[in-house]
Each structure stands twice: as C-alpha cells, then as structure tokens.
C-alpha cells in the first residue's frame, strides 16, 4: 500500500521540479523527460530508501528512550502517582518513547532535508561537488556506476 501510494505521488514530481526555473512550460516538460529518464527514478528511490532508514532509526531511538523512561518511572514511583495510573513503568515507557520519537525525528528530519537537497545538487551541479568534496563525489559516482553498469558515465 505504502509503495503504491508512493508511486502515485512521485509521478508528477520531475515535471513540477523544472517549472520552478522559469523555463517555458513545454521546454521544461521536454527537459524534464530527459532528467526523468536519466535521474528521476534514482532520485526518488534513493530518497525513499534513505527515508526508510531514518524512520527505522527514529523508531529504535524511541524504543530505547522508552526503556530509559521505564527505568526512571520504576525507580521513582512518585512521578506519575498523581495521574492515577496503575503501572508507572508502563506509562514511563510510553511517555519516554514518545519523547524519544519526537526528538529524534526532529533531528533526523534535518537529515532527510539534507538527503533530498543532495539529490538535487548532485543532479544539477556534480562538477562543483567534484571540486569541493572529491572523496564523497567519487563515492557517489562509483555507486551510480554500480547501479547502472551498462550506462556510460563521464
């Protein structure tokens, strides 16, 4: 379900991306088809795979913080005493997990923005990347080649 909805959502994106630059809409459309063929799906899938990782890490951090919450609430039974819950440990786990999930997803949303920005920059300005960050550029280029060995990459 998630994948299908993603596919539906992702389809019009490259066309949208290129309308921004003030190209004539039809020109943009044609150029976009080139971009779409060359990099479109890569970008989208790369973005999606990275988002999956960030989501998973965020869940893990939430879970671990939940355990910390459980410990804190079990050690000091008075924390949730006023709220009338039966098991302070359980409430501590839920509440701690929530705190962990929110805080980690805030930090990881910055990373998610960075992932998408890197995709756009890599598609638009690989030469500047090569000059400023040669090692990373080499890594990304070789990863590109390993994904499409049949396509020649300069």
């Amino acid at each position: 379900m998630v994948v299908i909805s993603h596919l539906v959502i992702y389809l019009p994106i490259p066309i949208i991306i290129h309308t921004r630059t003030g190209y004539n809409y039809l020109d943009a459309g044609r150029n976009v088809i080139t971009l779409f063929r060359n990099k479109g799906w890569t970008s989208i899938i790369s973005d999606n795979l990275a988002d999956n990782v960030l989501f998973m890490v965020s869940m893990m951090i939430g879970l671990l913080t939940g355990f910390v919450g459980y410990l804190v609430a079990s050690l000091d039974q008075n924390i949730f005493a006023d709220f009338g819950f039966e098991s302070p440990g359980g409430v501590g786990f839920m509440f701690g997990g929530l705190v962990g999930l929110v805080l980690s997803s805030i930090l990881l949303s910055v990373v998610a923005s960075a992932v998408s920005t890197v995709i756009v920059c890599f598609a638009e300005s690989p030469a500047e990347f090569e000059v400023n960050h040669p090692q990373l550029s080499m890594d990304m280029r070789s990863a590109w080649r390993s994904a499409w060995p049949e396509l020649q990459v300069d």
Binding site: T21, T34, T42, L103, S109, W144
Partner: protein
C-alpha cells in the same frame, strides 16, 4: 537559461574557481531513443532569483492570524483559570522529560555517526524492516480475525518484497547519498539547534492553541475549521522554514564549503535569515495549501461518529489524504529550490504545476 555560474543563495562562485571545475558533469549518455533532446539545455541548473520579498500577502496573512490569536489568548486564559490546579507534580514530570530528552538527543547525535559508518547495511536493514513489519501486521490481523485487513497487509508484504527486489541494485547509491547528507549535517550541527528551537516554538504554540480553542469553541462552535487551519498552518510553516533553512545550508556546503563547516557556521545564520524574511511569504503560501487540506481532513474525521455516512467519510478521507500527500511532496522539492536559489515565486510554480 545559459547561466552556468553556480549561485547559491545569491552569491556566485568565483570565475577562477569555475575554471577548475573541469571534470565533466555526470551525465548518462545515450538512451538510444532520444534524438532531439538536450539541444540547448545546458545542464539542469536552477537560476538565481533577485533578492526580494515574495508572496508577501501570505506572510502578512500569517502574522495577522497570529496577532488575532494573541488577542484572544488573555480572555481564554481567564476563562480557563477556574479549572486549573491539581498538578503539583509538575516538577517530577519536568525531571522525567529532561532525563528522556537528554538521552534521546544524545543518542540521536551518536546515531548520525553510526549511520555514516553502516549506511549500506542500514539501507538493506530498513528494507527488511519494511517487509517484516507488513508480515507482522498481516499475522496480527489474521490473529485478530480481520480477514480483510490481513489480506491488505499480505498484499503490502508482497509489494514490499517486489519493491526490495526492484531497488536492490540502487542501494549503494542511496547509501552514498545518505552518507553525503550525514557528513554535511555533521559539519553544520548547529542546524539541529534551530530544529529544536522550532520544536519548542511549535510546542508552546500547541499549548496556547489548546487553551484558545477550548474557550472559542464553547462560544462559537462554527469556528472549528478556522482553528484547525490555524493549528496546521503554524506547524507547517515551522517545519517548512526548517526545511528551507536546511536546504540553504546544505547547498552552501556543496558550493562553498568554507562557509558551511562549523557548528554555528555563517551559512546557518544566513539561510535561516533568508527563510524567515525573503522566502517566508512562499513558505506561508505553500503551508497554507497543505493546512487547508489537513483541516478539511480533520473536519471529516469529526463526522466519523455518524454511522450512516461511514463509507462516505472513508472515501473523502482517502481522497483528501492523496491530495495532501501530493501537495506535501510538491512542497518538499519546491522548498529545496527556495532554499538553494534564494527566493522564487512559489505561486508561479504552483500555477505552472497545476496546469
């Protein structure tokens, strides 16, 4: 269109620097079937936009809405004053949240390094995680006796496997992509500080909003839609401001790393200033569109209690959910360009995209 000088947030990279950039751009050559494309399309670059305030109307509207809420707040506080009290334990809650908060923030920061180290494995693990989650859901639903939901989860499980199979070859690229992003964020870790400030502001707003909406809905129940709109709009504006700021910082790191490689680098301040001034109107506009859909969805949820219209409510929710997803996705990429190339008229793109 023939502008080849890379420009990030209004500053151009020097010509001398330009000459060194001889390595050929990464271009996939020849798909065999496209004879006529790319004749005068030089690269895929965006163009710098003149520094000016864009879509000002929407930022004015946004501030007017905040002022209106601020005017109602004192009266709402008075109305709520009588049912306060009973929360003498607030100190221990603050202690609890602080312990968990410090732990979660520390762990998140450490996890950045961990993800850099194991990017490749984590991308694979996340795919397995997706598959395992849908399988676990299917089994849970089957045990709960809900055949219909179990079938859906089973389908999702099957599609996840197909997806994993289809994208397996692209994992190294996704991992390299993630790694680059993580290095850029780690070089400008102060960015996360702004993100936490945004979170705090959002939290404070939510508390104020709850107080206001309780008081207002008691007297004017018809204001529900506007209140939901206000809630979603503010949160969207906060998260999009953060997104635009991040895009600006990462863009600067890409083109001029000297300006964006310390905890509180110059790029962070500059990007945030741009996002909250020149681009703020565009941010408010895009956020308003999403917020309208979200508020409509919320209103629709309120109707769930009505048994007669249950199917209709579901269908409307599904349609609104799709629209919300599309607009959010559009915003995500649009705001990267806003962050990268300074200001661009969001409205123009929107019209063009909707054609």
């Amino acid at each position: 269109m023939n502008n080849n000088v890379p420009v990030v947030q209004g500053f151009a990279i020097s010509q001398q620097n330009q000459n060194q950039m001889s390595p050929a751009p990464l271009v996939v050559q020849d798909y065999g079937d496209n004879g006529d494309n790319g004749d005068n399309f030089s690269g895929y670059k965006g163009e710098p936009q003149p520094k000016k305030f864009n879509d000002v109307f929407f930022s004015v509207l946004f501030f007017a809405h905040l002022i209106a809420l601020a005017c109602v707040l004192p009266a709402s506080l008075n109305a709520q004053g009588d049912n306060g009290g009973g929360d003498g334990n607030i100190g221990s809650i603050v202690y609890f949240v602080s312990v968990c908060g410090v732990f979660a923030t520390g762990l998140s920061t450490v996890s950045l390094g961990f993800m850099m180290r194991y990017a490749n494995q984590l991308v694979k693990l996340a795919l397995y995680f997706q598959i395992a989650t849908s399988l676990a859901m299917a089994i849970l639903m089957l045990m709960a006796g809900s055949i219909m939901m179990a079938a859906f989860c089973g389908l999702s499980f099957f599609i996840s496997i197909c997806y994993a199979y289809a994208v397996w070859a692209r994992i190294p690229f996704a991992a390299a992509n993630l790694n680059t992003a993580l290095i850029a964020v780690r070089a400008n870790l102060g960015l996360t500080l702004i993100a936490y400030i945004c979170l705090f502001v959002g939290f404070a707003f939510s508390i104020a909003w709850v107080t206001i909406s309780n008081a207002v809905l008691n007297t004017y129940p018809g204001m529900a839609f506007l209140l939901f709109l206000s809630y979603y709009w503010t949160h969207q504006v906060l998260s999009n401001t953060m997104h635009v700021t991040s895009a600006g910082v990462i863009g600067t790191w890409w083109f001029a790393p000297i300006e964006a490689s310390s905890f509180c680098s110059q790029a962070i301040g500059d990007s945030f200033r741009r996002a909250s001034t020149y681009s703020f109107g565009s941010i408010c506009f895009g956020s308003l569109i999403v917020a309208i859909v979200q508020a409509l969805r919320q209103m629709n949820h309120q109707m769930r209690g009505n048994d007669d219209a249950r199917i209709l409510v579901c269908i409307i929710d599904c349609i609104l959910g799709c629209i919300e997803g599309i607009i959010e996705y559009f915003n995500k990429w649009a705001y990267i360009y806003v962050g990268l190339y300074g200001t661009s008229r969001y409205f123009m793109w929107f019209v063009a995209a909707m054609k």
